[in-house]
């Protein structure tokens, strides 16, 4: 499309071109373009625009992570995790009891386990009795089957320096 500009008479006078320059003025400047260049120009520009739009879109995802608001909390969590794993020493002597209710139930139905528990309980019971007997070492020469009178017993206790009141209260 040819675009015409109106040049005033006054403007033309100021130009004052030599005849040679005037003759060249409206000739072609001698510049050529490759065949079909102008037809292909518009689609090429549109392609470049679309390419740039796509780049902007793909970059926007990366740009989100460039914002400190996004990466700072993530970084803080990562640093905290590293500190917990490598710097804070684990408490090795602390045994954390874990109560496994299901295991208890299963074991309750296990006959061998029940037997074991009973044996252990009876063993402990015997042991408790044994400990109690040992704790009060009573040396006696009096047999349980002997038929002693109360006076004989008291006399015996006196001989052993045991207070008779304690015995009678007990």
């Amino acid at each position: 499309m040819k675009i015409k500009h109106t040049i005033s008479k006054q403007d033309q006078e100021t130009d004052n071109l030599s005849p040679q320059l005037e003759s060249l003025r409206h000739n072609e400047s001698g510049y050529k373009v490759p065949v079909g260049y102008f037809d292909a120009l518009s689609p090429r520009i549109i392609d470049r625009i679309n390419e740039k739009d796509n780049k902007v879109l793909s970059k926007s995802g990366i740009l989100v992570f460039r914002k400190p608001v996004v990466w700072a909390p993530l970084m803080a969590v990562a640093v905290a995790a590293v500190l917990l794993i490598f710097i804070v020493p684990p408490k090795t002597n602390q045994i954390i009891p874990v109560y496994d209710e299901l295991a208890d139930i299963n074991m309750a139905y296990d006959a061998s386990y029940a037997e074991e528990v009973l044996l252990a309980e009876s063993y402990n019971h015997d042991k408790e009795i044994e400990i109690a007997v040992n704790a009060i070492p009573v040396t006696t020469s009096v047999s349980e089957s002997s038929d002693l009178t109360e006076d004989e017993i008291e006399e015996y206790l006196k001989d052993q320096d045991i207070e008779i009141e304690i015995i009678t209260e007990y």
Binding site: K4, H5, D15, Q20, L24, S29, Y31, V33, Y37, I46
Partner: protein
Amino acid sequence: MPEYTDKELIELFHTADRKHYAFNLLVRKYREKIYYFVRRMVVTHDDADDVVQNIFIKVWNNLDSFREDSKFYTWLYRIAVNESLSFLKSKKLHSYLSLSSPEASMIRAVRDDNFFDGTEIQRRLREAIIRLPKKQQAVFNMRYYDDMSYDQMSEILGTSVGALKASYHFAVKKIEQSVTGI
């Protein structure tokens, strides 16, 4: 293809489902005008192609915020001038690393350009324009090739009409000396 005015095309661009269609029509309407302006500034086809694409991408990105207190054509041309001057500036910065000046490498490019088939006088004209200061080059090209009025040029370049007339006058004198050898 239906003939739309710039205003109609911009309105069409603002409707979501017609955006690509309207933009395509705008590119088709101005592609040659903008391409040749840029090509005269940056000389080689490859450079011109890059700059033209950047210009229309800027149009796409900024047309939503385009205020219609100036004409679309003026706005588009302003982008074209700025993009071309920026390109030449960056080229000048790169040329500090090489031994030749940017003007010398551009003149070589005109001579070696496969996409230049002008006459000898046209080639000399091209070389004379390349030797002008860059803004004076823009003024000369807009006036000499694109027949633009000084008022329009003033709006595009943000320079007074008087300064533009003086700039063009000096450019013509330098070019006539180069072309005719006077």
